[in-house]
C-alpha cells in the first residue's frame, strides 16, 4: 500500500476527511519551506501538496502567482525542491504530492524527472496543465514505472465521459476543482459543490479530494463531510506572504494549519 493510500485509509478509519495543506516551495526560500512543512505536519496535515513555482501559472490566482514569483526570485529550482523533499520526507512521515505545471518537468526530461522524484521520496505528482490525454504517452507511464502516484483533476465542466477517463488515469486520489476558476480564497463555497462532490465520491473508486477556494475552518468542515480530502492553499500561502519577515513565522503557520484542520479532527 502506498503512503497516500495509507493516509486515506487511516482517515477513513477515523471517519474523517484528510487535511491537505498546500504551500509554494521556495517561498520565501527553500530552507524556510523545509521548516514550514514540519509546521504543517504538526498542524494536522495528512498529505502535503508542495507547489513547484512556474513563471506563467495560468491556473493560479494572485496570491499563488506572487508566491511563485518570490520563489523564483529566490532562485528556487525543481532540483532544489526534490533535494528538499529527499532531506525531509522520511522525518515528516506525511506523503508529499508535487503540484506543478508541465513545462519545468519537460525541461528536465520527463523520465529523468520521474526517476528523481521517486528517488527523493515524492509520493505523487499533480500536473495542473496536463490532462490525462496529454499525459498518456509520456508522464503517466514514467510515473507508473517508478511507482509515483499521478493525480488528475476533475472540474465542474468535466463531462461524464471525462470523469471515467480521469478516474482511469489517476492513482492515489482524484482532485476535484471546486469551481470554474483559478486558485484563491473565496467568501462562499459554490452552492452546487456539496451535491457534486457527493455524486462524484459515489462514482469514484479512488478517494476524492476537493480544493480551490477553501480557506476557512467552516468551509473545511462543510467540504470534509462530502469528500475524502480537503485542500487548503492560498489561505496558508497568504500568511507566508504577510508574515515572511516574522521570527515566529513557523509557529504562525502551524497555528493556522491547526485551526483549519481542527474541524476534521473533531
Amino acid at each position: 500500500m502506498s503512503a497516500i493510500d495509507a493516509a486515506f485509509a487511516r482517515c477513513r478509519a477515523d471517519r474523517r476527511a484528510a487535511f491537505i495543506p498546500y504551500l509554494t516551495a521556495g517561498d520565501p526560500d527553500l530552507e524556510t519551506t523545509g521548516r514550514l512543512l514540519e509546521a504543517l505536519t504538526r498542524g494536522g496535515a495528512d498529505i502535503i501538496e508542495l507547489g513547484v513555482p512556474f513563471s506563467d501559472p495560468i491556473a493560479d490566482g494572485p496570491v499563488n502567482q506572487r508566491a511563485a514569483a518570490r520563489a523564483l526570485a529566490a532562485g528556487t529550482s525543481l532540483s532544489g525542491i526534490l533535494d528538499l523533499v529527499a532531506g525531509c520526507r522520511e522525518r515528516l512521515g506525511v506523503p508529499i504530492v508535487l503540484f506543478t505545471y508541465f513545462n519545468p518537468i519537460l525541461a528536465r526530461g520527463v523520465e529523468s524527472f520521474a526517476e528523481q522524484a521517486a528517488a527523493s521520496g515524492v509520493d505523487g505528482v499533480l500536473c495542473v496543465d496536463l490532462p490525462p490525454e496529454e499525459a498518456a504517452g509520456e508522464l503517466l507511464p514514467a510515473l507508473r514505472e517508478v511507482g509515483v502516484a499521478s493525480v488528475f483533476l476533475l472540474a465542474p465542466t468535466s463531462t461524464r465521459a471525462r470523469e471515467k477517463a480521469v478516474a482511469a488515469a489517476s492513482s492515489g486520489f482524484v482532485y476535484y476543482v471546486s469551481r470554474t476558476g483559478v486558485t484563491g480564497t473565496r467568501e462562499e463555497l459554490p452552492p452546487e459543490l456539496l451535491r457534486e462532490a457527493k455524486r462524484l465520491r459515489r462514482r469514484l473508486k479512488l478517494p476524492l479530494a476537493v480544493g480551490f477556494g477553501i480557506s476557512t475552518p467552516e468551509q473545511v468542515e462543510a467540504v470534509g463531510k462530502v469528500a475524502d480530502g480537503v485542500v487548503v492553499g492560498s489561505a496558508l500561502v497568504r500568511i507566508v506572504e504577510q508574515r515572511a519577515g516574522d521570527a515566529d513565522l513557523v509557529e504562525i503557520v502551524e497555528r493556522e494549519a491547526s485551526r483549519l484542520s481542527g474541524p476534521l479532527r473533531g
Binding site: 513563471s55 506563467d56 491556473a59 513545462n103 519537460l106 525541461a107 496543465d129 465542466t157 476543482v177 470554474t180
Partner: protein, 407 residues
Amino acid sequence: MARREEARPGYWGDYGGRYVPETLVAPLEELAAAFDKQRRRRAFRSRLDGLLRHYAGRPTPLFEAARLSDQLGGARLWLKREDLLHTGAHKINNALGQALLAESMGKRRLIAETGAGQHGVATATAAALLGQTCTIYMGEEDMRRQHPNVERMRLLGAQVAAVDSGSRTLKDAINEALRDWVTNVRDTHYVLGSVLGPDPYPRMVREFHQVIGHEAKRQLKKQAGRAWPDLAVACVGGGSNAIGLFGAFLDEPRVRLIGVEAGGTGAGLGRHAARFRGATVGVLHGTRTLVLQDREGQIAGTHSVSAGLDYPAIGPEHVRLAEQGRVEYTAVDDDEAIEAFHTLAELEGILPALETAHAVAEAMRHAPRLGPDKVILVNLSGRGDKDLESVLAYDAKRGVVGRPEAG
C-alpha cells in the same frame, strides 16, 4: 514533398495539443466540435464571407511596389495589402470568424489578449458589430507603446484590462485571458488571436486566415501573369498572418517560404523574440512548441520594438514546417525593421506596422539577389498608424533628425 500532416487534428508531429487545466478541456472539445460543424455549414460560411467582403473590405488589393523594386534593382515586390482591411490588419479575418462562432454557440461575452493592439481592436470591433460584450487583456508595457489602439478599443465599447504581471506584454496578457476564461468559460468565448494555444485554436485561426494566400494567388495570376511567386515572406509572432499567406503555397515546392521573427537588439536570451535562435521544446499557453526559456523551464523575457512579435513561443505548425524544411525562418532586428518602415513610407507611401516592417526588411534583403523576372510576395499584414510614437521615439534615441530623401 513536404506536406502538412495532421493524423490527429491539432497536432503537427510532436507539436500542438491541448495542455490545459481540466476545467478547459470539455469547453475546448465543445469549441472544436462547433468549429468543425460551422465551417462546413453554408449559412455560416456565407455570413462570414459577406462580412469579410462588405464590412471588412475583402478582397484586399495586391500591389506591385514598383519604386521600391526599382531601387532594390532585382526581383519585383508585390504587397498583399492586409493593412487596408477594416481595423488595419489581417486580424479582423479571425476575429469576425470567431465572433460568429461564439454567437452560434450562444456565448454573449468575448475576451481576447492583445500585444500590438490590432487583435484587440479587431475583437472589440467584431463584438460591437454582433452586440457582444468584450474585455481585452493587454500588458501595461504594450498599453504604453500602442496607446492609440487602447483608445480605439475603449471607443468601440470594450473594457481594456491592464495586465501588470510578469513582463507586462503579450505573454502576460494571454495568462490573464486564460485565467478569465477558466473562470467564466460557460458564457464566454476566448478569441485567441494567433495560431497558438490549445487545439482547436491553431487550426481554427489558420482556417480563418487562409483567404489571404488564396486571394493573393488569384491576384498574382491576373495581375502579374504568374501562377506562383518565387518567394513569399511574412512576419511571425505567433504566426497567423504567415500561416494565412503560406497556406496557398505549401504544396507548391517552387515557392520558397520565409517567416521572419523579431531579432530585437541582440542574440542573448531576453533581447529578442527569435524562437528559431535559441528556443527549446516546451509547453506554454496550452500548446507544445518551441519556447524561449531557461534550463529550468521558466519562460524567458523577450524583446522587440514590435509589440506584436514580442512573444516567447511560436505557433506549433510553424515548428513542424521548419522541421520539414518547407518554411525557412529568419530574424530581422529592431534597427533593420525601423529602416524598412521608413523606406516603405518614403518610396511607396505606405506606413507598415512595425511587425510587418520585419517582413518588408527580409524581402528587401532578397530582392537585389534575384533577377527582375522573379516575384517576391510580401504579406503587408498591418498598417503602422499605431506605431508612430514608437518610431519617432526610436529615431529620436538614435539621433536621426531629418531623414535624407530616399529614392
